[in-house]
């Protein structure tokens, strides 16, 4: 499939119609989705109708938007008015979005065509897309393996060529880790860059919308469209959004790339080899490799699980059967009503609600939640100090390539630990991008991650663009 840039340019200049672009996407979905389960619902008639409207406007001589005719998938926790948004949970199985998320409005204004909603871990809690009520999505590289998560459907859809771009959300790496597992590009801008209005909240201090694409330049264009201030999101930043897709430099000579001390210590040999080879490649392109210290970053994963579970226990209280969600008909009393109303939540969601409320209880609050938010502050300070010395920081995206479906089922700690490299970005509020850096001996993609300071997304996009070009 063509890239976002290629489709938009071709539709704008008339060498391709939006209808042709969307039809190709729909055909690919029809062919591959039965095996991959990347999309949980597709809207073919509506997508084709919208594509025809875009073509008609071009024929009339109207100037089309920057994503003209680009088919896009959206994660099932993003509201698109009049369409189901279920978070891949039984709890919201019949919920229809009453309004558009800001990102949906922006996609539509840019003349993109939303073709369907993509599979995900229930309420975005998971790293393998195995907690979805619609069943797991499969990795297009190897159908017996997970695509990663929680935005597994979005990554799989892009990797399989069903769509050139998809939206995901990233609370602890849920865009970047599946991008790494599926061999595509996944970027999460800094906290506050993209409005979360109309996205079902999981952990408000960490949730960010991100994009998955086949190449870095397309990711830059998507970010350009989606970033920017929104009065409907109080965390939305007021700062101007650069034209990211126009910010690529001629080379990266002199770029200071930070390598965190000890960050390769617990890696498997194959991933370690790929990351070191990538560092060598950057050096050969003229970048300087500089060791940096982020001593508290090793605490990111436990911080992440306490803070996000605590915030989830508060955010998901709205699924009480009155404001949202299932209302049990035969409750005996109020307590019974609350407990029965929460029955549709899956096993991982229930667990995190219990962890979160336990961490927030008066007797645990100081030792658990407050200590985690204090350590988060130290992690932020570490990164701020490191970025005084370097432009970007390089890490693996995930310590492993995609694992097989069902693996780690009885050992969730193994999955939590694997979030180490990605959740640093959410805990630190940083911008992060995962870009493919080759395959392991089994042919599975391995991802390389660049971190950059908030409001400097162009730096990570530029580093990733040059690395991609040289790969």
């Amino acid at each position: 499939m063509k890239t976002v840039f290629e489709i938009a340019s071709a539709v704008q200049n008339g060498t391709l119609t939006a209808r042709e672009a969307v039809l190709e996407s729909l055909c690919k979905i029809k062919e591959l989705n039965p095996q991959i389960n990347a999309f949980v619902e597709v809207w073919p008639e509506e997508a084709l109708k919208r594509a025809e409207e875009i073509d008609a406007r071009r024929e009339k001589g109207e100037k089309l938007g920057p994503l003209a005719g680009v088919p896009v998938g959206i994660k099932d926790n993003i509201l698109y008015k009049g369409h189901k948004a279920t978070c891949c949970s039984k709890m919201l199985e019949n919920y229809v979005a009453p309004y558009n998320a800001t990102v949906v409005e922006k996609l539509l204004s840019a003349d993109a065509v939303i073709v369907g909603r993509t599979n995900m871990d229930e309420f975005a809690m998971g790293s393998s897309n195995q907690t979805s009520v619609y069943g797991p999505a499969h990795n297009p590289v190897d159908f017996d393996r997970v695509p990663g998560g929680s935005s597994g459907g979005s990554a799989a859809a892009v990797a399989a060529g069903m769509v050139p771009a998809a939206l995901g959300t990233d609370t602890g790496g849920s865009v970047r880790q599946p991008a790494s597992f599926c061999g595509v590009v996944g970027v999460k801008p800094g906290y506050g860059r993209i409005s979360r209005y109309g996205v079902v909240a999981f952990s408000s201090g960490a949730d960010q919308i991100g994009v998955l694409t086949g190449d870095v330049k397309s990711a830059a264009l998507m970010l350009e469209v989606l970033c920017g201030r929104d009065t409907n999101d109080s965390t939305s930043l007021e700062d101007e959004v650069p034209a990211f897709s126009q910010h690529f430099t001629a080379d990266i000579k002199g770029l200071k790339v930070g390598m965190p001390k000890g960050f390769l210590d617990n890696l498997g040999e194959e991933v370690k080899e790929k990351i070191l080879a990538a560092a060598d490649k950057l050096k050969s392109l003229g970048a300087q490799l500089i060791e940096v210290e982020v001593p508290h970053a090793k605490y990111s994963a436990p911080c992440y699980y306490i803070i996000t579970s605590a915030e989830a226990s508060s955010n998901l209280a709205r699924f009480d059967g009155i404001r949202y969600g299932y209302s049990a008909p035969n409750a005996k009393d109020l307590n019974d009503q609350y407990e029965l109303n929460r029955a549709p939540f899956g096993i991982e969601v229930k667990k995190r609600l219990i962890i979160g409320s336990t961490a927030l209880r008066a007797e645990n609050y100081k030792a658990c939640y407050l200590q985690a938010v204090k350590v988060r502050e130290l992690i932020k300070q570490d990164f701020a100090k490191a970025f005084e010395k370097v432009d970007v920081i390089l890490t693996p995206t995930s310590p492993t390539a995609a694992f097989t479906l069902g693996a780690h089922k009885d050992n969730p700690m193994a999955v939590y630990l694997a979030d180490l490299y990605t959740c640093q970005g959410n805990i630190g509020g940083l911008a992060g991008i995962s870009v493919p850096c080759g395959n392991d001996k089994q042919g599975l993609p391995v991802g390389l991650q660049f971190y950059g300071p908030i409001l400097q997304e162009e730096k990570i996009l530029n580093a990733a663009y040059h690395f991609e070009k040289a790969s």
Binding site: G192, G205, N232, H296, K350, T358, A367, L378
Partner: protein
């Protein structure tokens, strides 16, 4: 130990989550492991971090009045039980 005097069943009751016997056994083990892992945070010296700084997750703009499109009827229409433009819920008290 965070879970020394707690167990999964008690924590679940506080969180208003009902567990099956199977889930209870599973969570008991997994939560003990998770909170033991989280204990490593207590070894970090956080004496230099102000509580108020730490609690502020992110920049927040000043509050501004925003007028949203009227959605009440759309939202109410999603419920099976309705009466007089309101969601009808079971009497529980």
């Amino acid at each position: 130990m965070i879970l020394e005097k707690d167990n999964a069943a008690r924590c679940a009751r506080m969180a208003k989550v009902r567990l099956s016997a199977e889930e209870e056994a599973l969570y008991e083990e997994q939560m003990k492991e998770l909170f033991a892992w989280v204990e490593q945070l207590s070894a970090v010296d956080t004496s230099t971090v102000e509580e108020t700084t730490a609690a502020r997750a992110a920049y927040l703009r000043p509050d501004e009045p925003v007028t949203n499109e009227p959605l009440a009827q759309t939202l109410v229409s999603q419920f099976n039980a309705q009466q007089d433009h309101c969601v009808k819920v079971k009497k529980v008290l």
